[in-house]
């Protein structure tokens, strides 16, 4: 891993307008799906993005993929602003980042054979022109992700969920991208199969030197996969740190709550911890709470939290968190089984 960032994201914002009216549409509000997110992704690292449903993880991924245009903010890939890539040069840029989708049932076209699905990137970019050559390339990819290459003439419905997700992985790898974004790649799968897909992703990342962004809605999935983890809440990053640091010394109360919900295999450890269940629901992203967005649910909230938005800054213990009153080690240890004093 070299020290230079592959992707730099600065103040990324995406608001979805809410329109009323049939012909003369009027904007009556906006969903603040992503609201000022900044982070770097280093070459060759794996970054986890974690948060509850609706906090803007998929929207962030779609913005990075340029499937959506940001409302404001900058995304730089290898130092170049992707918004300024001219139309003609855009298709080659598509080869650099690829995505693995959440739902292995809707992400594969049911009317196409697996071979055609994996060969699609080649067809779009005019690679591996010859028929035999294309087929060989597809079968190599199928082999690489642990599918039987003989099955390339079958249709997606003949495969199980886990195998379908492997097909999605093969398609994402076809263009030899520098970075892969996996948006909750295992949340639609049986628990017994989740580990296989995660192991596959980790092995591929290591073997092919990929940069990986792994999106998940709970911290346990990310733990063994990622070098760094960013925690999102209502369109903002509230804490970002190396995995070890985050799991040992969570600083943001929201991270603390998420970690306290992670099951622990050791009953002795489990009994020592006080499970903290977050009260209330995630507020609507149409009308997020002012200042610190977490304050209505935060056990440590004080007046300042209603008035002033906390900034992401280095906290004692190593994490970068956006909180006026971060957790102390003692508080972290109370909630989180994996926490350790500094």
């Amino acid at each position: 891993m070299s020290g230079e960032p592959l992707v730099e994201v600065r103040d990324l914002v995406k608001h979805f307008p809410i329109n009323r009216g049939i012909i003369l549409q009027k904007q009556v509000g906006a969903v603040h799906a992503v609201d000022g997110v900044s982070f770097d992704v280093m070459r060759g690292e794996s970054l986890g993005i974690v948060g509850e449903t609706g906090c803007g993880k998929s929207t962030t991924a779609r913005l990075l993929m340029r499937l959506l245009d940001p409302t404001s903010g900058v995304i730089r890939f290898e130092g170049k602003d992707v918004a300024k890539i001219p139309r003609r040069a855009f298709k080659p840029f598509r080869r650099e980042i690829q995505m693995i989708f959440q739902d292995p049932y809707s992400s594969l076209n049911p009317r196409k054979t697996v071979g055609a699905i994996i060969a699609e990137p080649f067809a779009i970019h005019g690679l591996n022109k010859g028929k035999g050559e294309r087929r060989r390339a597809v079968q190599e990819l199928m082999d690489l992700v642990g599918l039987n290459p003989e099955h390339y003439n079958r249709y997606p419905h003949e495969f199980s969920g886990g195998q379908r997700q492997r097909i999605g992985v093969a398609r994402a790898l076809a263009l030899q991208p520098k970075m892969i974004i996996a948006d909750e790649p295992v949340s639609a799968l049986d628990v017994s199969i989740q580990a296989q897909i995660l192991n596959l992703l980790r092995d591929l990342q290591r073997d092919l030197g990929l940069t990986l962004i792994l999106i998940a809605h709970d911290l346990s999935v990310v733990r063994h996969m990622c070098d760094r983890v960013a925690v999102m809440y209502l369109g903002k990053i509230v804490e970002i740190a190396d995995s070890d640091t985050l799991y040992r010394h969570p600083r943001h109360p929201y991270t603390g709550a998420l970690l306290s919900a992670v099951p622990v295999p050791d009953p002795e450890l489990a009994s020592r911890r006080r499970r903290q269940v977050l009260g209330g629901d995630v507020p609507s992203p149409t009308n997020p709470p002012p200042a610190c967005r977490f304050h209505p649910r935060c056990p440590k909230a004080q007046d300042l939290c209603h008035q002033q938005e906390p900034l992401l800054e280095q906290k004692p213990g190593g994490s970068v968190a956006a909180c006026h009153f971060p957790l102390s080690d003692a508080e972290a240890a109370e909630r989180v089984a994996t926490a350790e004093p500094v």
Partner: protein, 323 residues
């Protein structure tokens, strides 16, 4: 590198699932349809009907019946009333002494011609409009959908009558493009029927375009054209077939209705609808003139409807049936 991946393959316990022979969605569809006896009977009937229509001249010759436009006073009695079924005229004759049998056979040609051409035209327009509205959404969709609403709210029969009447005179309308007779009928039917298909296709496309495979194609760099034709269209083939089958009988009836009202197929061309109209005046003395074309129309419409229902069931096997 492959060694770690081989491990991954061995550990995947789900690899056995694909022991079943490869089956395309179309094959599954056909298998389900084959189990539906009613639909298969309807299909057989329709194939026979097509054969009859195509081979009508040959059949008339083989059976020794007279051609459809062969008039003869020989088969009218002294009061000018047509005679009923005999060995010479199997289905009897009409008031002009023509063979009802031949006219019913040739009428199948008209019905199927109208059904196929008008349906193809309305499906083509409907699919293009529906896909455009559903795929591009926004302003385009608003305009097209309101247009469809307006057309659906139109008194269709009046519109058809007006159009048919206007275009049935002299050289037709649109500079002779739409001539009196069959072209008017086909144009009118296509004009009013595409809306139905367009609505269905729009709905399908609206849901298909949100599927992740469309997003996957886009993230691979696919153009809009490629997404429309390579990703979305293949998923529309089955619904298009099903809804066409359901529109065909409506179109057959519509042609019959227009011909019945005198603005459709022009004499002396045989049409079931026109025959029924003629027959109403002499029903008490010549029942055969109404019964044979009537039964032909009924069976044809019924067969298409039953086949359409069967296709729809085979396409959406969600509804479990007891048989």
């Amino acid at each position: 590198m492959t060694s770690t991946i081989d491990l991954a393959r061995e550990s995947s316990s789900e690899a056995e699932v694909s022991g079943i022979a490869a089956r395309t969605p179309l094959e599954l569809f056909w298998r389900r349809l084959k189990q539906d006896r009613v639909a298969m009977a309807a299909l057989v009937f329709i194939l026979l009907l097509v054969a009859v229509a195509v081979l009508a001249p040959l059949l008339v010759k083989l059976t020794g019946q007279r051609p459809p436009n062969d008039q003869s006073t020989k088969f009218l009695d002294e009061f000018g009333t047509p005679t009923g079924p005999t060995s010479e005229n199997w289905f009897g004759v009409d008031p002009l002494g023509r063979s009802v049998f031949s006219r019913v056979l040739y009428g199948a040609r008209v019905s199927l011609e109208v059904a196929i051409i008008a349906t193809a035209a309305s499906v083509a327009v409907g699919v293009v409009v529906g896909m455009t509205a559903g795929f591009f959404r926004g302003f385009v969709d608003t305009v097209l959908s309101r247009l469809i609403d307006v057309l659906l709210a139109f008194p269709i029969l009046l519109l058809a009558l007006g159009l048919a009447a206007a275009c049935s005179l002299g050289n037709g309308c649109l500079g002779g493009l739409i001539k009196p007779g069959l072209t008017v009928v086909i144009f009118v039917i296509a004009f009013v029927n595409w809306t139905y298909i367009a609505r269905i296709i729009r709905g399908q496309v609206l849901s298909l375009r949100e599927k992740e495979f469309v997003e996957a194609a886009r993230s691979l760099g696919a153009s809009n054209g490629r997404i429309i034709f390579r990703e979305i269209l293949p998923n529309l083939v089955a619904p298009i077939i099903v809804y066409s089958t359901l529109v065909i009988p409506q179109n057959i009836l519509f042609e019959a209705a227009l011909s019945f009202l005198g603005v459709g197929v022009q004499p002396p061309n045989p049409s079931w609808g026109a025959m029924l109209a003629d027959a109403t005046e002499i029903f008490d003395t010549a029942w055969w003139y109404m019964v044979f074309p009537g039964v032909a129309l009924l069976l044809t419409v019924l067969a298409f409807n039953l086949l359409g229902d069967g296709l729809q069931d085979a396409l959406n096997p969600r509804v479990e049936r007891s048989t």
